[in-house]
Symmetry: C2
Subunit: 411 residues, 2 copies
């Protein structure tokens, strides 16, 4: 007989068909495949006897009752994907949450508090231009009105998309207002190489990293590649190369920080023309806000020096500042105890990627459990986690729910 | 009364209307505007009493007879432009050649040899994928058949384009076979900042630089910008930045050489993704072949070191190797004497850009005269040379033709 923890593999396989194409899985919020994924969630929840509800921005909840009708323990993740996504990022945490609730059923476990599995709407920001859309509204960081007014690249609003028969809210699920949360747990694939490299199947997240994103624009002087002597050049690409290497150097010298230039646009980008203008993305992350701040300041020093030395102008524009989200110490301890109880060591790990848990941590104690990503890769069709690790994660999550319920008591 | 040397300004203004759009002038070989430019050339030449002929690839000649029917002195440049070209690159040398022949008429100058003004077909390679197309065929470096078989981006062959009524060869001009050339002179805008910076109106080209073009491909390992620790990265863009700076450094340390990375393509080029693969163009030029060779070797050393240090793979593919084309000493001396005769100092200068004179120098003594480019810019709609400098160049060219004719004698 299949146990609920085994079901996680079969269910992820089922979901992976929704939105699949030759470039991976494309399952943006309020598209037909994403709606189909919510329908599967609702089907599994109903069959298990859980109570469904949704809110106006598309967050979907399956509730398992507790002894008392108090603020629930919420467990979940998201069903949407990036445009070239894989089968595990997000979906694992949603399916895993449902399976964990079913393990509580199987074990005839009565919790003090209700426990809810949740599928947050639009974590990836791949269709509507806001990451962690559903959890941000849930946590009161974004208003419902602002979220519903967001438009995709075709000018369709989230509001209109959620009204659609093919892709919108589920017609037979009641809509409920925002509610309090006693604690939040999220199960997720690591999306990086750390657990695999350590040979460990479970990671307890200490903090979701602070992140700052910038656009750097280097403006130099163009000219013919054959006719302008080297000493008369202000080559924007050479200035950009200085910045790329400075970003790397500063992150390397700050323990645990990462920094990346991922996007480059060179103008006019002709083989025969000295670059006039280069636009770079800069992304800096660390579990400590102060380290991100420090790297930014070091970068500004390099920029001033590069401007002087090369006769270029460099503008560094901050696009986004996210503070670090430390995970709750009591929940982390509960996760560690649950790992230890099944004889699995767990590694403390920083999450460089953002998650719905970032938003939830602003309004409730929150923590995350990671399982390894094969090859450390994610956001591609080939992202994968071993079945055994998927099942371990669900088992630990179920045990941790019980631990946390016990810790929290009734108030 | 307008002198022929003044005419150069009016004629360039007239040609600048042909192919003009908001991005500059687009006058590719065997397009309607380029055909219209050849028609203007033919009109001016006929009105002056010169004899027109053309060859099968679209080179167009206007002959002023000499005392003897021997190999002519050929003077000219090209009428085609890059896709965002200006009014001077090429057109100046063609119109200037016609005007110089008219100065000989005005001055009732009888030369020993015939003198021909020529408009070479397709120097820029902006429509058919071969630079210096017409002069290369004329010099026997490319066969007529190979040239006529070249196709543009729409699959149209040069042969078909030259048959077209709207854009092809001039219907009323006789076609002639290839012929010997006694000497070649080309008047051109500098396309760089050297003359302007020196405050000098005339430059005598010592050599057209050797040029090598490469594609460098850096392959690293991709990954999530937030989840891969710095010490586990093989970031292709950081490797590419090392190369960009090495290209610059090696050229700076080799007197008179220039080297440029002008084109960059990053994959996948996402703000959130460590670059997997970066493709770079590398262009190295020097008046001395040995210096280009030396920079290439230095670059290969840097590449090997970068591969080792970063765990990336770097392929450097040579796309083009052009030897330096030293200009003829006797012709250069004649140009210098002609400058001195009108009290204008001339600067010796290397041409970093390629020109039709490169091909001609393989089959005849060849030399070039430069006039300044305002702001050192070229290949853009705003390229410009002062009227006074345009007229000076034509006057010196006319004088140099007489000097060269005298030097060469009859044999």
């Amino acid at each position: 007989m299949t146990s609920p923890a085994n079901d996680v593999v079969a269910r992820l396989l089922e979901l992976s068909a929704l939105g699949r194409y030759d470039g991976g899985i494309d399952r943006g919020l309020a598209t037909p495949p994403e709606r189909a994924a919510r329908e599967r969630f609702a089907y599994w929840a109903r069959r298990a006897g859980f109570t469904l509800s949704q809110d106006v921005v598309g967050n979907l909840f399956a509730r398992r009752s507790g002894m008392h009708d108090v603020a629930p323990i919420v467990v979940g993740s998201h069903l949407d994907t990036v445009r070239t996504g894989g089968a595990y990022d997000g979906a694992y945490g949603v399916v895993g949450a449902l399976c964990a609730l079913q393990i509580l059923d199987r074990d005839k476990c009565v919790t003090t508090r209700p426990v809810e599995a949740v599928a947050w709407a639009g974590e990836e920001g791949s269709r509507f231009p806001l990451g962690c859309l559903g959890s941000s509204v849930f946590a009161g960081l974004t208003s419902e009105g602002d979220a519903l007014a967001l438009r995709d690249n075709d000018g369709i609003s989230l509001n209109a998309a959620l009204q659609s028969r093919e892709s919108g809210s589920l017609p037979d699920v009641p809509v409920r207002p925002r509610q309090e949360t006693a604690a939040y747990l999220e199960l997720h694939v690591e999306q990086g190489p750390v657990l695999e490299a350590a040979g460990v199947s479970l990671g307890v997240v200490t903090a979701i990293a602070a992140q700052r994103r910038y656009r750097a624009i280097v403006k130099g002087a163009s000219g013919h590649a054959g006719t302008v002597p080297m000493e008369r050049r202000s080559d924007a690409l050479c200035g950009a190369a200085d910045i790329v290497l400075a970003v790397e150097r500063e992150a390397r010298s700050s323990a645990g920080a990462v920094a990346t230039v991922g996007h480059v646009k060179v103008e006019p980008n002709g083989t025969n023309i000295i670059p006039l203008r280069v636009s770079l993305s800069v992304d800096i992350r660390s579990s400590e806000d102060a380290r991100v701040e420090h790297i930014e300041r070091a970068l500004q020093t390099v920029i001033a020096e590069t401007e002087r030395r090369r006769g270029v102008q460099i503008a560094l524009e901050r696009l986004e500042v996210r503070a670090a989200a430390p995970m709750d110490a009591r929940l982390r301890a509960a996760l560690h105890r649950s790992c230890a109880a099944i004889g699995q060591p767990a590694l403390d790990i920083t999450s460089g990627a953002g998650h719905d848990a970032t938003c939830l941590s602003r309004v409730a104690p929150a923590a995350m459990l990671f399982v390894p990503s094969v090859g450390g890769v994610s956001h591609i069709g080939a992202e994968r986690t071993e079945d055994r690790d998927l099942e371990l994660g669900v088992a630990v999550l179920a045990a941790a729910i019980i631990e946390v319920d016990r810790d929290l008591g009734q108030n």
